[in-house]
């Protein structure tokens, strides 16, 4: 334990892996430089740095708008100034593990929309796939360029009390947060001048270049027109869409900027119509094409699926990838890895109970205080039941819903998320964190940006890191 008021009240949680301290308050090596920098900083300096970070987010427009009456109020996602640091060895395993997982998931998608060997071999139950709302029959027999479905992923990892990383979710649809990875790093450079190079931290700033190269290589055209499709200015991730478009130098388009003619997609420009070859879409499948999915959608483009099936446009990620990150299908990812790659999974799954199975349901009901129940198609931390903090009435009500369609729910043991030091009210305090590294899959392989988004549950004792529910983020340093 260090002799500084800043560190004085760092109370480690029981049975929990802390990113900075080993069990006996021994400082982990990767935190030494940052820790001594903090020792030398006065509380006043740190407070100023925190203010500076807030100001930087506001001034750059790294915000989302909350509409209240006619007033639009700009908000920032909370940012904690202390970095989360990952060692070289830890990262190597994460890197290999995610690559292995995405390779298998991509093979699964190709299989499930073509021959369905994995169903015929009874590795995954047929009804599980066909009953999933994310399984798109419209994609049956469609072959995307280079057989790539999941170009962009943001796998969520958590660290259990033994220090091992587990996969929480695969996020294969339109994972967000990568702009925060970039922005957080820019802010770290300014609040910890000189510390990043001293620590040998790997850069993340070339992510947009890599992304652009990979998107470009997804097209058969020699000089393809790549665009980013956004739902528009009212979307909470709009900042991210503008940033990625700006940093890649591509057009940010809305559904109404695009039109389909002769099974080809065009954008409306001041010169007339211009052909579009690759669309990095940040619009969900359901809203993509009013002719095939949600007919009331004005966010998508009528006829785009027909153009896609003809091979005239590449959609990134491919429609229908949601089937592979469904929470019930998640249970089978280790089996997929064994089935398609004949390898043992490098990153483990969290033990998951399917409430559709009577014996699992029974077990979960008996052990509810140690369980969290989730909807298989849920996201954003909504619709969950945390057994350890729910009242008896809540639990009863929740099971009443579960019993109507148990197959739509899964349960997992409540995990001990690892903690990392946060600067809260002038003191360092441990808070639960997860990690979302961003991977890009192109014809020449998978590239994972060294770092990612560390999300942090800023409320004391909370395990929910989602930004919509009081979560914040941290810069993530991977050491060379």
């Amino acid at each position: 334990m260090q002799n500084s008021p800043l560190f004085s009240s760092y109370e480690m949680l029981k049975d929990t892996w802390d990113e900075m301290y080993a069990s006996d308050f021994k400082l982990r090596e990767q935190y030494e430089i940052v820790s001594s920098y903090l020792q030398k900083s006065s509380p006043e300096d740190l407070r100023k740095k925190e203010d500076l970070s807030k100001q930087l987010f506001m001034n750059q427009g790294v915000t989302f708008t909350v509409y209240n009456d006619e007033k639009g109020i700009e908000k920032i996602f909370p940012f904690d100034i202390l970095p989360r640091i990952i060692t070289h060895n830890e990262w190597e395993k994460i890197d290999k593990g995610i690559k292995q997982r995405i390779t298998a998931l991509n093979l699964f998608l190709k299989d499930i929309y073509h021959d369905q060997f994995i169903l015929k071999d009874k590795i995954i139950p047929v009804d599980l796939v066909y009953s999933c709302p994310y399984f798109l029959r419209e994609m049956k027999g469609v072959t995307p360029p280079h057989d790539i479905y999941v170009h962009i992923t943001g796998v969520d990892l958590i660290r259990n009390n033994n220090g091992e990383f587990y996969v929480l979710e695969d996020n294969l649809r339109t994972p967000s947060g990568v702009s925060y990875m970039l922005e957080n790093r820019e802010i770290s450079k300014r609040i910890f001048p000189g510390i990043l190079p001293q620590n040998n931290v790997l850069t993340v700033s070339n992510y947009p270049n890599i992304l652009y190269e990979k998107l470009k290589s997804c097209s058969n055209q020699p000089d393809p027109n790549v665009v980013l499709l956004t739902p528009g200015i009212y979307n909470s991730a709009y900042y991210e869409h503008t940033t990625l478009a700006r940093l890649m130098g591509i057009e940010l388009v809305e559904g109404s900027d695009l039109v389909v003619k002769d099974h080809m997609v065009f954008m409306k420009t001041t010169f007339g119509l211009k052909r579009v070859d690759v669309i990095y879409r940040r619009v969900d499948d359901e809203y993509l094409d009013p002719l095939e999915f949600n007919a009331t959608s004005i966010l998508g483009v009528a006829g785009i699926m027909a153009a896609y099936r003809k091979g005239n446009v590449t959609i990134v990620n491919a429609p229908g990838t949601g089937i592979a990150d469904d929470k019930a299908v998640y249970t089978y990812v280790p089996d997929m890895i064994r089935y398609y790659l004949n390898e043992e999974p490098i990153l483990k799954n969290i033990e998951t109970y399917q409430l559709g199975k009577p014996e699992d349901l029974e077990y979960v009901k008996n052990n509810i205080s140690k369980m969290v129940i989730k909807k298989t198609d849920g996201s954003g931390g909504y619709g969950m039941l945390m057994g350890h903090e729910a009242s008896e009435k809540d639990i009863e009500d929740y099971f009443a819903t579960v019993d109507k369609n148990p197959a739509a729910f899964i349960a997992q043991p409540i995990l001990k998320l690892s903690t990392a030091p946060c600067y809260i009210d002038g003191k360092l305090t441990p808070r639960c964190v997860d990690l979302r590294p961003f991977a890009i899959y192109g014809p020449d392989g998978i590239k994972i940006c060294p770092g990612g988004l560390t999300r942090v549950a800023l409320k004391k004792g909370s395990l929910v890191v989602n930004s919509s529910q009081g979560g914040g983020s941290k810069d993530t340093w991977v050491i060379k």
Binding site: E74, I233, K261, F266, K268, T270
Partner: protein
Amino acid sequence: MLSRVANNLMWMNRYMERGYSILRLLKVNFSANQDSPELFSWTPIIKNYAGVDASFQTENAIECIDFMVFNYDNPNSIINLVTKSRENARSAQEHIPRELWLGINSYFLHLQDTNLPEKLKHQDPVEFLDSLLNYQLLHYGNIEVTQERGSAYYFMNVGKLLERVIQISDFTSMKLMEISKTSDSLERSFHWKYLLLSIGAYQLYLKKYKSSFHEDNVISVIFQEQLFPKSLYYCVNKLSRHINELIQTNELVKNDLEFLLGKLESTIKYTTIENINEQGLENFIASIKQDIKNISMSINNVYFSTKS
């Protein structure tokens, strides 16, 4: 460039220019109103910008400035104009220099600061308005220094100039209404003086005609001065040049645009003071506004046309 983006850039600057004009008008009317409140009432300004049936009414200078800057129900309050300008800039970020976006965003954040309305109440109102005007000038400075001279630049300028012509015409119409109410020549000359001030043509006028305010001379400075960036002559000339740049690179369709612009240009160029007096200044201004509206509609048709 996407048609929507071109439209965004045009409107970004239309809203900015409107804000700029309104702030100048408020500043000039404030000082005139402190001299003679009966002569320089706030009501015409409120009616012109918030709509003739706006329920808000005041003859208190600070209340009026507050309404014109901060009120969300007033469609042309500075806070609403800057919000709209910022939204247009926000969805065109990949086409404008970073500095330009940061400038608009900081203007927007400055207006959102909840302490700002208090400052207006307790500080020098002129300093308050000047601080906002500085953001406007920074915006134009950013464009001049950082924006490449391509279509984005021309679309921005088309928006700015269209709006400037409308504002100059509006200012003059508003003054004509007031002038018609009095036959006192001193009062009339006050009005002419403050019209020149609100447009920013006062110093130029003094240099040319000394401190003696005659209608014909004022009109000639505002409408026909060739080298003054806020005269109608200058604005229309530049508007025409920038639209022609866009037509030449095939980014705008000629259609009737060339004709409309040519007509407006020659109207302003070849109408003498005598001609204006013959048809009446009100009618002359009304016809200019109609021409500007037609030009604006013709540009809009290119973007909102259902023909692809």
